[in-house]
Structure formats: structure tokens, C-alpha cells
Symmetry: C2
Subunit: 280 residues, 2 copies
């Protein structure tokens, strides 16, 4: 049986992650070592490569050796930590994704306009935590229940975490409008995320099987898998090539593949090659 494997055009690293990984590798080379505050991406393979190149993961600024630079990763870094690093005179390499910096600015502008800022995103997610740290007052809304329990607000501004599913954000917004008299919503879901989600919808609906490759700790990966599953029940989320199960492919003629924003293109290639080797 001949199988057709289609890989989503928008797969592999997103630009923000690509940029951050490159900055980490360059800095490690230039300074002998760079100290990364938290894991730059939720992907074990990538972390391993970075470690071998001289990127050391530190959990907090307390662990930092002030002789070597500190790298702020793509998700963004809370205000308190940014200020402590500045006060301590640390050399900082800021690899925050420019699209996420844009969300911080937009949210602050909405606040300056006298609006209560609503961040539609995952509570506790690093990106959301950093956005909120730049605001005096904000409310994180993760789901419809959160939106329904909002108080009445006269003026609010809403932004979305860059990797949210727009359809889910729409459902949340349908409830937020009931609570706010004057609401401004800046759609900060990044274009790469939109493209990725659109292509997953397309692939999941036109293939027998849909594979999403990425870490189970990655919110954007899980979101892609949820979007695909709603369309195609034969959707599988795998962390890497080792999790592939030949049984899935028994009757499958067409296979679609996409990945989370922190999954390198190499992981996708490995999966593709292994599927091609399955006897049919």
C-alpha cells in the first residue's frame, strides 16, 4: 500500500523560538557559556543540544554566575526578574519573541487608556505570567467559566496569549462582551500560530491520520492536538519518533503531520522516515 505523508508548511520551530535558540548558541560560543533562565523551549531534544553547546539552565537569578551573561527566553520574563537583573548589573541577552514584546506593549497601552486588562490565556503559562507582570491590574481568563464569572466592567481591554486557538478565544469573547460596556480587543494571536492552526485544520480533515509532534508540556502543542482531534479522531500526539505505533497506520493511506512551535524540523523528518519504513 502506498502511503502519502503531508507535512504542514508551518511546522518546526516558530520564528521566535528559532531566533532564541540561535541567540543562545551564539552567546554560548561568544562568552564560553550562557545562563538560560528556565527552559528556552519545551522540548527535551533541543534542551540537550543546547546544554552540549554550553547553554546552562538556571532556575532563578540566585544561581547565576555574574561573570557570564543571562539569557531571557522567547516567552518573555517577568518584570521583577528583569529589574533585578538590571540592578545587579548582569549582562542580559534578551531573546524574548518580538511578537510577545508587542503583546506587553499593547496591554500596557490599554491599561494607560484606563482599561482593565483581560489576558485571554493559560493561567500560570510563562508568557501570560510575564505579560501580567507589566500591568498594575489585570485578569487572566482561561476559559468560558472564567469569562462568566467576570464582574461588570465599564472599560476593558483584552489581548490573547500568542498561541491561543482563535475559535476558543472567540467563544470566550462572546461571554466577555456581556460583562463589559466598552471593550477593546487587540487580536495578538501571532500569525505563525494562526497559519499553523489553519494548516492543522486542513490536514486533519483531509488525511486518514493526523500526527502532532511536540512535548506534552507544551501548551501550543496540546492546543494543536486538541484542534486536530476535534476534526479527526485518529489524531495522535507524540513527543518523538520512539512513540510511533505501527498499528495506527494499518489502514491509513494518507497521513498529515504538524508540530508544536518548539519542535525542531529534524524531529519531523525522523518521524516521516520511520513511517515510510513501516511494512504495509
Amino acid at each position: 500500500m502506498k502511503r502519502r505523508i503531508t507535512i504542514a508548511k508551518s511546522s518546526g520551530f516558530c520564528l521566535g523560538v528559532q531566533r532564541a535558540v540561535e541567540m543562545a548558541l551564539e552567546s554560548a560560543k561568544k562568552y564560553g557559556e550562557v545562563q538560560m533562565l528556565g527552559e528556552i523551549v519545551h522540548n527535551e531534544t533541543v534542551i540537550e543540544i543546547l546544554k552540549n553547546a554550553g547553554v546552562r539552565i538556571v532556575k532563578s537569578l540566585d544561581e547565576v554566575d555574574s561573570a557570564k551573561p543571562v539569557l531571557f527566553r522567547s516567552h518573555g520574563t517577568p518584570k521583577g526578574i528583569r529589574e533585578t537583573a538590571r540592578r545587579s548589573g548582569l549582562k542580559v541577552i534578551d531573546a524574548t519573541c518580538p511578537l510577545i514584546i508587542h503583546i506587553h506593549k499593547v496591554a500596557q497601552k490599554l491599561e494607560a487608556d484606563g482599561r482593565t486588562v483581560i489576558v485571554i490565556g493559560d493561567k500560570g503559562h510563562d508568557e501570560v505570567t510575564a505579560i501580567v507582570s507589566d500591568l498594575a491590574n489585570s485578569i487572566v481568563v482561561s476559559n468560558i467559566q472564567d469569562a462568566e464569572s467576570l464582574p461588570r466592567i465599564r472599560k476593558a481591554g483584552a489581548v490573547a496569549q500568542s498561541t491561543q486557538d482563535i475559535e476558543q478565544v472567540g467563544k470566550i469573547m462572546s461571554k466577555i462582551v456581556e460583562k463589559v460596556e466598552d471593550l477593546r480587543f487587540i487580536n495578538t494571536i501571532c500569525n505563525p500560530t494562526r497559519d499553523r492552526q489553519r494548516q492543522v485544520i486542513k490536514l486533519a480533515s483531509s488525511n486518514d491520520i493526523m500526527l502532532i509532534i511536540g512535548s506534552r508540556t507544551s501548551a501550543n502543542t496540546k492546543r494543536l492536538a486538541a484542534i486536530a482531534s476535534a476534526i479527526n479522531p485518529k489524531t495522535f500526539l507524540i513527543q518523538n519518533v520512539d512513540e510511533l505505533n505501527p498499528d495506527w497506520f494499518e489502514k491509513a493511506r494518507t497521513i498529515g503531520i504538524s508540530s508544536g512551535a518548539s519542535t525542531p524540523a529534524e524531529s519531523i523528518e525522523e518521524v516521516k522516515k520511520k513511517i515510510a519504513r513501516f511494512s504495509s
Copy 2:
């Protein structure tokens, strides 16, 4: 069998209609006659009373006797007609509901801010037609399909027709957010409408039968009936007391009653009295 009849607190004329009817009656008295441009309310009984008091209905400015004043009704009047009346030196009595004037102003402000204005409302409804007449460019969105067929817009502002159902507006907004990068929504659904809808929801869920009294040509009346029907299948829309059917009440112990914004309190009282007279 003892029946309990509960009349919604927010029923009978809304304030805007009450005010317009009073202005019409006062002007007719003061000037001997007043010429009303279109029907002031979608209610046959009220129109009859007004006619008898000297309020003459004209379909367009061409029919107007310039010696007598013209009354602009509560829904608002299109810009072209307002300007023609001014140019012709007609005496105008403007009974436009202040809350609807507010929507016109908000929509114009959104347009001045460089936003494409989206009016969430019923296409062809007099209120919507008048709002749109004050804008250079606008889009009327009546349902989810309209929202889905919107083009991509960078900056948009949205307002709602004063008597829309907020839940339905929320559903429409969930689709609009997918199309607009920077969206400002001013919730212009008037408080009397919200109160009326909230009370209908409450009454429809706590009574065996729900009656909505009002004209079948009134959009806000039909909306109340739709809201009630979704909760209580034993919802009946009646134009007046003559349409009451004793069969509906056979097993009913509790009855909730509300009305559209153009239904006078007297019509509700008549219905209540007639139900009380049904043998059980």
C-alpha cells in the same frame, strides 16, 4: 385551581417610547395636529389612540403640511430626512430616544477614530437604518453567517442595536473577533432592554406558561418571544387579549407575562384580567 400570574416588572412601554408618545400627544394638543413620520410604535392600539388625539401619520416629507410640525419618532430618523426637514424650514419635534442618539454618537466617534463601523442589528430595521445613515462606511451584521463572511479588517468598531439579545450579540462577536485585528465594541444594548430580557428569562424558567404581548411586526417583541421559547416551549406571543386561547391554560398553575417595548401597560392588564376569568 388557583392560578398565579406574574407580570414582569420591566414590561409595558419602554422609557423612549413613553417619552415619544407623550411628546406626540402634547404637540398635537399644542399645535392642533402633529405629523408623525412613520408609525411611532409597532402597536395598533397605540396608533389608534394617537390618531384620535390629532397625530397624523405621514409616510414621507412630501405629504407634510408645512404649517404643522413634524415629529421624528423614537427609533431615530435617517440623516437625509433630517437635513431635508431642516432645509425646508419645517418645525421638527424630535422624539428620538436619547439612548439611540447615544448609539449614533458612539458609532460616529468610532468612525472618526479610523474604524470601520459594524452595526450588529436587524437589516432594514428603522433604528439600524438611521444609525447607518450617519456613517460614511458601515457594515450591518445580523447573524453569525454575516459575521463569518466579513472581510479581514484592521481596525473596526462595533455597536449593537439597542434591543438586541446580548447572548446572540455575543455569538456574533465570537466570529467578528476572528476577522478584526483591533476591535472596539461599545455595548449599546439599552439597560431597559437588558432588564426586560433578564426578567423574561427568569419568568420563562419559573412559570408553566409564558406570554409575550406585542405586535408581530415588532422586532424587540419577537426577540423576547424567541428568548422565552428557548427556555419554555409553552411560550405564546399574542398581539392582544383577543388572541388568548383558554386551552393553553388547562393544566397551567403559574403564568408569566411580559411585553414588547411598544406595548402599553393597559394591554397587559386586559390580558391578566381575562386569564383570571377562565374557568379552571
